[in-house]
């Protein structure tokens, strides 16, 4: 019974932990402009991250090394450094976007401008990483993030034209006023929001730090294969409600306030409060993961000590990188850049950098030196290759499409 509780808790944490500011922004904006015409990207992205998380988990359990560790070894120090630079930069931007998201959520509850909250959020984040047990953080924010289910509740409880939504989802073409350029541009952004690089760094590093055995691997797989899809469902709550409330009126979404508005309209103050709380928890949790991941990438390349359970005194370089990353994020946000716009740029840059993250995973997962006979089977390689092609195509198309559509107009 206790074991079942632990497993359930793990899965629930993973569900709430899947959603971050990128998912919220992408799903809301796309729901308002395309209705559910881009719905298909969600399952594609979720399956992709499940496939690669499974590979990372296997590498962590059988080789005992996180994937990024092996990047330098496999690609050499020069290419490995290029990979590190790209990955680190995008992780840093993501960290800034998440902190911005937390600040925006607090603004919605307090009425005080988000910029004033940015330093407070950064301090809270840093203190949380230093002083609190990681499990506490993860559980707290993962479970509170489940409050985002209120968007789905609003969708179900409200006057939702289900047949219309379904019809649009099954007709994946640009909606009125949109062309194929903007369609694919947003498809790439949505895809990148599901396949966030830091997610796999984090998953893989966690597995190594916790010394996953085969038994743990089964559990980790369950967390990923159940948690990620259900997390995708939570994210869909934003797309669905935007499709119902904003799309028919031709109104586009560009603020966090708009993204959570449907919850308030259908379920009143309580619904709204739940939605804002859910956004707060999801983005704060994501900030924790991204902050740690920014340290992981650098520390694992250089062979330094790292870990969420390692106290600062015993891994000074790793913790300094995390601290500097948080400070750099605050500096970026204090330039008054709109956190929502920052999120949009970060998503597109993530798309460009995705091959750097995922190609090494596929290579390592096929290496018998690390995994013995636990290398990828035909199924894993099939999906891995298919997704790698998709990832490369998305990476190549991202910047040109951004230029042509003027950043989505």
């Amino acid at each position: 019974m206790k074991r079942l509780l632990g497993v359930t808790l793990g899965i629930l944490t993973a569900i709430g932990g899947f959603v971050d500011i990128g998912d919220i922004v992408a799903n809301s904006e796309i729901g308002a402009r395309f209705g559910t015409a881009l719905f298909w990207v969600l399952p594609v992205g979720v399956i992709g991250i499940c496939v690669y998380a499974e590979m990372c988990g296997r590498v962590a359990a059988h080789a005992g090394r996180p994937v990024f560790d092996l990047v330098r070894e496999r690609l050499g120090p020069r290419v490995g450094l290029a990979n590190l630079s790209g990955s680190y930069l995008v992780t840093l931007m993501t960290l800034a976007a998440e902190i911005g998201g937390v600040a925006l959520a607090v603004q919605l509850l307090s009425g005080i401008d988000y910029v004033l909250w940015v330093p407070a959020v950064a301090v809270a984040l840093w203190l949380g990483l230093w002083r609190l047990r990681f499990e506490t953080l993860e559980r707290l924010f993962g479970l509170t993030g489940l409050a985002l289910v209120v968007l789905l509740v609003a969708l179900i409880a409200g006057d939702t034209p289900w047949s219309q939504l379904a019809g649009q989802a099954l007709d994946p073409v640009p909606t009125e006023g949109e062309d194929w350029n903007s369609y694919w541009y947003f498809a790439i952004a949505l895809f990148a929001s599901a396949m966030t690089p830091y997610e796999v760094f984090f998953f893989s590093s966690g597995g190594v730090e916790e010394h996953w055995t085969r038994k743990d691997l089964l559990l980790a797989r369950a967390n990923a294969f159940i948690g990620f899809p259900l997390g995708g469902l939570l994210a869909f709550g934003f797309m669905g409600t935007a499709a119902v409330f904003f799309y028919p009126n031709g109104i586009s979404v560009s603020t966090l306030g708009q993204a959570v508005l449907p919850a308030g309209l259908v379920l009143g103050k309580i619904g709204l409060a739940c939605a804002i709380l859910g956004v707060f928890a999801a983005t704060f949790g994501a900030a924790v993961e991204t902050g740690l991941s920014s340290g992981y990438t650098v520390a694992q390349y250089f062979g330094w000590g790292w870990g969420k359970y390692v106290p600062p005194r015993r891994a000074a370089r790793f913790h300094t990188v995390v601290l500097l990353s948080i400070l750099a994020s605050v500096a970026l946000l204090l330039t008054m850049i709109d956190p929502i716009q920052l999120t949009e740029y970060t998503l597109i840059l993530s798309a460009v950098v995705l091959p750097l993250t995922y190609l090494p995973i596929l290579v390592v997962a096929n290496d018998r030196d690390y995994l013995g006979d636990r290398v990828n089977g035909k199924l894993a390689n099939f999906f891995g290759m298919v997704y790698l092609v998709v990832i490369v195509v998305a990476a190549v198309a991202a910047i040109p499409l951004m230029i042509v559509t003027g950043g989505g107009q």
Binding site: G177, N249, I251, L261, K269, I399, P400
Partner: protein
């Protein structure tokens, strides 16, 4: 050494690729002006529509303040997008002449809505909301007609 050559090749290819795309899709002035008008109308539509939806009483007051601020910013942004730009030809001037009254009306309607909320005047709020709904339709038509 080979790696270096390859990286140069990749950079050059990327630069040509991106540059080509950018050049091919560069807009002449009139098209750029049309896009500004459309964006301006869309911003106004976003701001007005959101403000209208947010007059729901079942919302937290701090939240509504934030939402109203966002709406106001959008409407101001819309004005800023057109101000200072000179229409390059007569068709563009016609577009501007169709858009500006809508922007003026939008600002008035938004102000009335905010006032009715502050005064807790239900009837005035209903009137403002109705005006806004009409305006939203007009703005939507403008956007659709000028894409």
């Amino acid at each position: 050494m080979a790696a270096r050559r390859w990286s140069i090749v990749i950079v050059v290819v990327l630069a040509v690729w991106m540059g080509g795309y950018a050049l091919l899709s560069r807009d002449p002035d009139a098209v750029a002006y049309r896009e500004s008008c459309v964006q301006s109308a869309q911003s106004t539509l976003d701001g007005l529509g959101t403000a209208r939806m947010a007059t729901d009483d079942g919302l937290l007051s701090s939240y509504r303040t934030a939402l109203d601020d966002d709406a106001q910013k959008l409407i101001a942004q819309a004005r800023g997008q057109i101000a200072g730009q000179v229409p390059p030809d007569s068709r563009s001037a016609q577009r501007r002449d169709a858009l500006l009254p809508l922007l003026d009306e939008a600002e008035r309607a938004y102000a009335d809505l905010m006032r009715s909320q502050a005064d807790h005047d239900g009837a005035a709020r209903q009137r403002a909301t109705d005006r806004i709904r009409t305006l939203e339709d007009q703005l939507r038509d403008f956007v659709d007609g000028n894409r």
